[in-house]
């Protein structure tokens, strides 16, 4: 019975090919848009997640210079109010897992005939743990390298590629940073893009002391631009933030009511905000796309109403020879359902194709998940049933005598 009806639905659709196709087109575009938008949203979320996990967890960044009421000042860090002893003191606080005083600058780097301009980070070995950064090849410089300010360097993937190319193993080679020779002791595992879109692998890490004394000079001995601080856990973060503020204000002799000469930022909170924003964007994209699905559904309802009216006489004949109300209902519902399901399947193909196209053309990540396909399918099926129901019921409720008399 059911298969016979499915056959009839197929038949009826075939009788008006152009009309059926146009109706399906609404569904295809709707489903395609939903799948594609969800893929783009998912891609954005995934890349944010990757950036967040590459950053390290439970992080604060403490910057030299006063915070500005309006947010970050462009010259933050210029005042160099922080120093290595502050970092040691923060390390003593409860709930702090590690501190890495850091100074940064850009420099021209040379190896053989190649040169490259990159960011030099001078820091302590604890930086590697805080950032959860591992070495692919070689080893991390040690605390004794720190004490003796050895000229050793860890190079990021981008730097290694540009200076050495594929053929040469960078470990053990000597590069020149601002004319001083440094020995490469390790190659950093690639981290990819940071939250703000910078290439985190375009960097060289050297011991803090070496950077201070031999690369960037030093106005105030021991001073640093910033510190990376890692809390022991997510829960410890609010208390840790308060403790760092209090400790530094005390150490810097800042009176109550005056501005601090440093600022503490909760990087994890910023990252979470970014993730939240992306999630909202993804939802918004999906929501806008589903409107087209709704429009597709209305298209189905419209065409089914036309079809029911056109086939009034057929409905009368069927009723006369014994079709019950639910047989007629099922017949038209099935027809709407088949249209939306076929449209949906083609729409999914369009959506997947579109997502791949977006990925290839723009380089934006677009990830089609089975979840999004299942969702699109379920929504399309319900749209078909929902919008098919009213016309189908209209057909089922017809008076057989009037239907038979219909010209």
């Amino acid at each position: 019975m059911f298969t016979a009806m499915l056959g009839e639905a197929w038949h009826a659709m075939g009788a008006n090919r152009m009309r059926t196709f146009l109706t399906m087109l609404g569904m295809m575009i709707g489903v395609g848009a939903v799948v594609m938008m969800m893929a783009i949203g998912e891609g954005a979320q995934q890349s944010i997640k990757k950036s967040i996990s590459s950053m390290g967890s439970n992080l604060f960044i403490v910057l030299s210079g006063p915070p500005n009421a309006g947010g970050a000042r462009s010259a933050t860090g210029n005042a160099l109010s922080l120093n290595v002893k502050d970092a040691d003191a923060i390390g003593e606080l409860d709930g702090i897992a590690g501190v890495a005083p850091t100074t940064m600058g850009s420099a021209q780097v040379i190896y053989a005939g190649n040169n490259w301009n990159t960011t030099i980070i001078g820091t302590t070995p604890s930086y590697m743990e805080i950032r959860d950064w591992v070495i692919d090849d070689g080893y991390v410089f040690s605390n004794s390298d720190m004490r003796s300010a050895t000229r050793v360097a860890l190079v990021g993937k981008t730097v290694a590629d540009n200076l050495f190319g594929d053929a040469i193993d960078p470990v053990g080679k000597t590069i020149r940073i601002r004319q001083s020779p440094f020995m490469v002791v390790g190659v950093l595992n690639p981290k990819g893009q940071s939250l703000d879109g910078r290439d985190q692998d375009d960097t060289i890490i050297v011991p803090l002391t070496t950077a201070q004394r031999k690369l960037f000079g030093n106005q105030v001995p021991g001073s640093v631009r910033m510190m990376m601080v890692q809390a022991e856990s997510d829960k410890a973060m609010p208390q840790a933030e308060e403790d760092i503020n209090n400790l530094l204000r005390q150490r810097h002799n800042i009176r109550e009511g005056s501005d601090s000469d440093f600022s503490v930022r909760n990087l994890t909170a910023i990252a979470n905000t970014a993730a939240e924003t992306t999630r909202t964007m993804a939802l918004l994209l999906g929501a806008i796309a589903s409107i087209s699905l709704l429009v597709g559904g209305i298209g189905i309802m419209n065409i089914m109403l036309v079809s029911v009216t056109e086939r009034t006489r057929e409905i009368g004949i069927r009723m006369a020879i014994g079709a019950r109300e639910r047989d007629i209902l099922l017949q038209f519902l099935l027809e709407a359902f088949v249209i939306s399901i076929v449209g949906c399947v083609i729409g999914i193909l369009i959506g997947v194709g579109g997502a791949m196209l977006v990925k290839n053309l723009t380089g934006t990540d677009a990830i089609v998940t089975t979840q999004s396909i299942t969702l699109a399918f379920a929504v399309a099926a319900s749209v078909g049933i929902f919008f098919g129901f009213y016309p189908a019921r209209k057909a089922a409720r017809m008076n057989p005598i009037e239907a038979l008399r219909y010209q």
Partner: protein, 235 residues
């Protein structure tokens, strides 16, 4: 139970803007199994309404209708649909075939609604199509055959569920006299096999094929060729 149809004191009113308009007024009719009845009368005499009630397409405003022993005047629409499916075969003036479907599918359609499986549907539909002389056209469309052949297909469709009763509404109205005669011969032979037939017509030569003629006028039966014998039985 030897009567296929028993109609007692049936009334039918249509609601119009001007109030209730009576179409059938106290109609009584009993049709025995195997009978062959022609219902005649001018337009507006109520014969179409009466046929609709007999065919379970409509319900009387008042009165009792027993079809094959079942009280149907109070049944709800699903039960009526099943009665139409199992007990009655319809033949219409305009053939009323589904244009998109093959003759085989047209004939098999009532079986779809009685839940018969595909193989049996196919076999039974083929059998009746052969019986009405269209065994060579199983997969043709209605538009590819003549009017007389289309009416044969409609008769085959009416027969496929082995009904007790065939209701034919002006079955020869769209056909020329020669084809009409052929169709009537088909009805005659079906009746001789024991199927009860009620047909509406306004052509006397068609009505002559039936064993009994009933004439409607103004919502009442004014003539019944059996009336004499019925009256005789009653007294």
């Amino acid at each position: 139970m030897s009567n296929v149809i028993e109609v007692h004191h049936i009334y039918k009113d249509y609601q119009t803007a001007a109030g209730a308009f009576p179409v059938l007024k106290d109609v009584n009719l009993t049709i025995a199994r195997g009978d062959y009845v022609a219902i005649m009368g001018p337009s507006g005499s109520g014969k179409s309404t009466f046929m609709n009630i007999l065919g379970c397409l409509d319900r009387p405003t008042d009165g009792d209708y027993l079809l094959d022993g079942h009280q149907v005047s109070q049944l709800e629409s699903n039960a009526l649909a099943q009665l139409r499916n199992k007990t009655i075969g319809f033949v219409f003036q305009g053939f009323n075939l589904l244009a998109r479907s093959s003759l085989l599918d047209n004939v098999a359609l009532p079986l779809v609604y009685s839940g018969v499986d595909k193989k049996t549907r196919h076999d039974k539909a083929t059998q009746v199509l052969i019986k009405v002389g269209l065994g060579n056209y199983l997969n043709s469309r209605p538009s590819q055959i003549s009017g007389g052949q289309q009416q044969r297909v409609a008769i085959a469709r009416a027969l496929v569920n082995e009904p007790r009763l065939i209701l034919a509404d002006e079955p020869t109205g769209n056909l020329d006299s020669k084809t009409s005669e052929e169709i009537m011969q088909l009805f005659d032979s079906l009746n001789s096999e024991g199927i009860s037939i009620v047909l509406v017509t306004h052509e006397t030569d068609i009505a002559e094929h039936a064993k009994r003629q009933v004439r409607f006028l103004d919502g009442k039966i004014v003539h019944d060729s059996y009336a004499l014998s019925v009256t005789a039985e009653a007294s």
